[in-house]
């Protein structure tokens, strides 16, 4: 996430809010990062931390009128998408930037065959003929590892297993050779052995098609092998970001430390207690004035309660939003 002239995507100070009956939800509070061409970025964080909303904003798919992007820039290949026209966005969505949605109902239409859904996207974006699109749809299903694709292309989504549906969604997402694929929890609903198949497949496709990938997940471990860079979100903020090795071997934000300590490994003995993080995440309707993690943080000091910490550089391309040095416990 370095300042890189070749970055395919640059997100700067993006913020999103929702108006609800109970008040304003500050879902995303000024996130910035870059995705260099060909890189994979992992976005992790717990439920409600703003992972999906921040990506829906990139695609300009925030539900209106409740939701609005209140500030920021999303520069894709030199163009600020937040200022693009709706027709301009339609040319980009599903074509140059594709998204695999967290909610599968958003992606596969139950009343059309899988083949037809892929073909339509090809005909719309690439002007393929009917026959070309059909042949390519079969090729794509084959590419994502669906057996007997000539038959499966005629299936409706409900005729496929969960793992197959996920593969079909990936086929649809990569149909037009996107430069950027946003995959929102592409494997969460799947079993471990099927999850391994899907992640392996995404890795292969990424190399074959030279795509950039943003992988969203709540499972920190899942991004370890897949991503070059990782951003950890908490309450709408990116609290730590950097190269994957830095995040896993040299974590600097207390929340990242807490997350890593909360997950048992495969070797730990039963007598080793997990380092559970106490409490629950803050109410997004009433975020505290200071660091959103302070209430649960074992390093917190009075200073943490008054202002949201600024981004601090703690290593090469490694930044955190925290004023305490976790090694010494003192203020930075």
């Amino acid at each position: 996430m370095t300042q890189n002239a070749q970055s395919l995507l640059q997100i700067r100070d993006l913020a999103v809010e929702f108006s609800t009956d109970d008040g304003i939800v500050k879902a995303v509070n000024g996130v910035s990062y870059e995705v260099p061409a060909g890189h994979a970025i992992g976005i992790v964080g717990e439920s409600g931390s703003g992972k999906s909303v921040s990506q829906l904003a990139v695609m300009r798919l925030i539900a209106r009128p409740a939701g609005r992007i209140t500030r920021g820039e999303v520069i894709f290949d030199g163009e600020n998408l937040l200022e693009a026209s709706e027709s301009g966005m339609r040319r980009i969505r599903g074509n140059r930037i594709s998204m695999i949605f967290q909610d599968p109902m958003n992606s596969l239409n139950p009343v059309y065959t899988v083949g037809r859904q892929i073909e339509e996207s090809l005909r719309l974006h690439q002007g393929s003929s009917k026959d070309e699109a059909h042949a390519r749809a079969i090729e794509l299903l084959d590419l994502v590892g669906i057996p007997s694709p000539e038959d499966r292309v005629k299936d409706y989504p409900h005729q496929l297993s969960g793992g197959m549906q996920q593969r079909a969604m990936i086929a649809m997402a990569i149909a037009c050779n996107p430069e950027l694929l946003i995959a929102d929890e592409p494997s969460t609903a799947l079993d471990v052995t099927i999850q391994a198949q899907v992640i392996e497949l995404l890795g292969e496709l990424r190399e074959k098609l030279n795509m950039s990938v943003i992988l969203i997940t709540h499972d920190l471990a899942l991004v370890a092998g897949f991503c070059d860079e990782v951003a950890v979100m908490y309450a709408g903020y990116i609290v730590e970001q950097g190269p994957a090795r830095e995040i896993f071997y040299n974590p600097q934000h207390p929340y990242t430390l807490g997350l890593l300590g909360s997950v048992p490994d495969l070797k730990s003995s039963r007598d080793e207690k997990l380092e559970a993080i106490p409490g629950v995440p803050p109410d997004m309707l009433a975020l505290p004035p200071g660091c959103p993690y302070a209430e649960r943080c074992s390093f917190a000091r009075d200073e943490c309660l008054t202002v949201v910490p600024e981004l601090q550089e703690v290593g090469t391309a490694h930044t955190i939003r925290c004023i305490v040095d976790v090694k010494s416990g003192a203020l930075r």
């Binding site: 198949q197 392996e200 370890a224 890593l260």
Partner: protein, 374 residues
């Protein structure tokens, strides 16, 4: 923690007296089967087959220990839990609790046994009655089992239980919807503990929770076990969590237990091909390790439990399968003390270093070669 046994000392003594069955097991499940009929036809409904949800499962749980039950969605974990609790009537098989066959017990004895066996459910949102306050939810089993004379005693017991699971006495007046998922699992745990059980089936108690909250509940369950000596059957699909909390682990595939072993040996010496694949598929928070780890990527999906494959039901996905596997059902075989495995070729596979044969490094289809292990 003397408080928790208020009014029930006599029951616990009674429980441990009978707990000594022939081999000292608290719970013993033998050849348990649960088949669900599958119907066909709209007007004239005929039974066209059966879901073999639990297919001849045998295991035991010792007093105060945790047996983990792990396996993928639909392999029959919950049904095993429901059947042994007699929430679902088993198709066949025996369940011995504290040395007695549950089916043979008199109504009264069964009721008392029921009290010492409790269950915590997977869904923290669906398992608590939304119209009752948290206090009423926890108090209910005390009333049902007639454990305290007076309302005042029940209330003080309710407050104790809330504190025990890390909630506050004032929470008793609130309703479930006012709580987060993790707090609801605490409430469910308090309710299960109310009647001083010796055994609790925990069905995916943390799966619906965020990682940071999961750890709180896992620690709580471990603390309670230490303080009260309660035994758990801990059901989950997350191998890391199961291994961490369990003394022994049973791995289930398509209605059958394929391997049982002590937790440490699960990592050091997995023997069944499915266990090997599961272990290799678990993502680890270690970028360098992840990049050089060799994965066993299983082809295809879990088959339907309606017509399970012949012989070893894992054979269509097994990288090591041979002719014999599709014909002959492997039986559980003891390979070391406390370590059983059901695979014809476990020995050959172990001697071969657990590396899948070359043909297995192929994906679900022949067209997508894996990043092959060099």
């Amino acid at each position: 923690m003397s408080t928790a046994s208020t009014g029930s000392d006599s029951d616990r003594v009674d429980g441990s007296e009978t707990a000594a069955s022939r081999n000292g097991a608290l719970l013993e499940v033998r050849n348990l089967k649960k088949y669900f009929p599958v119907h066909r036809g709209t007007f004239i409904r005929r039974i066209s087959g059966h879901v073999h949800a639990v297919d001849d499962v045998t295991f035991k749980v010792n007093p105060g220990e945790t047996l983990g039950l792990v396996g993928e969605s639909g392999c029959g974990k919950s049904t095993t839990g429901y059947s042994l609790m007699h929430i679902e009537e088993p198709t066949s098989g025996e369940v011995f609790f504290e040395g007695h066959d549950i089916v043979q017990l008199s109504v009264q004895e069964r009721r008392s046994a029921r009290r010492r066996m409790q269950m915590i459910f997977q869904d923290p949102y669906g398992s608590l009655n939304p119209r009752m306050t948290v206090g009423q939810i926890i108090e209910e089993p005390l009333i049902v089992h007639n454990l305290y004379e007076s309302k005042a005693d029940r209330l003080s017991r309710t407050q104790e239980l809330l504190e025990l699971v890390g909630l506050a006495p004032y929470h008793a007046a609130r309703y479930p919807h006012e709580f987060s998922g993790g707090q609801r699992q605490r409430i469910a745990t308090a309710r299960a503990l109310a009647v001083t059980p010796t055994f609790i089936v925990c069905d995916e108690p943390v799966s619906a929770l965020d990682v940071s909250i999961q750890a709180q509940i896992i620690n709580l369950l471990q603390d309670l076990q230490q303080d009260f000596g309660v035994a758990y059957l801990f059901i989950a699909h997350d191998l890391k969590v199961v291994r961490h909390i369990s003394d022994r682990v049973a791995v289930m595939y398509l209605g059958k237990i394929v391997e049982t072993t002590v937790s440490d040996e699960l990592y050091d010496r997995p023997l069944h091909p499915y266990t090997r694949a599961l272990l290799s598929a678990v993502p680890l928070p270690d970028p360098d390790l992840e990049r050089k780890r060799e994965r066993i990527i299983l082809p295809g999906d879990v088959p339907s439990p309606i017509n399970p494959p012949s012989g070893c039901n894992f054979h269509p996905r097994c990288p090591w399968a041979q002719e014999r596997c599709s014909q002959e059902l492997p039986q559980l075989e003891t390979v070391a003390p406390g370590h059983e495995v059901a695979c014809h070729f476990w020995k050959e596979i172990e001697d071969g270093g657990g590396v899948p044969p070359v043909s297995a490094a192929i994906h679900a289809t022949s067209t997508t070669p894996t990043a092959s292990p060099e």
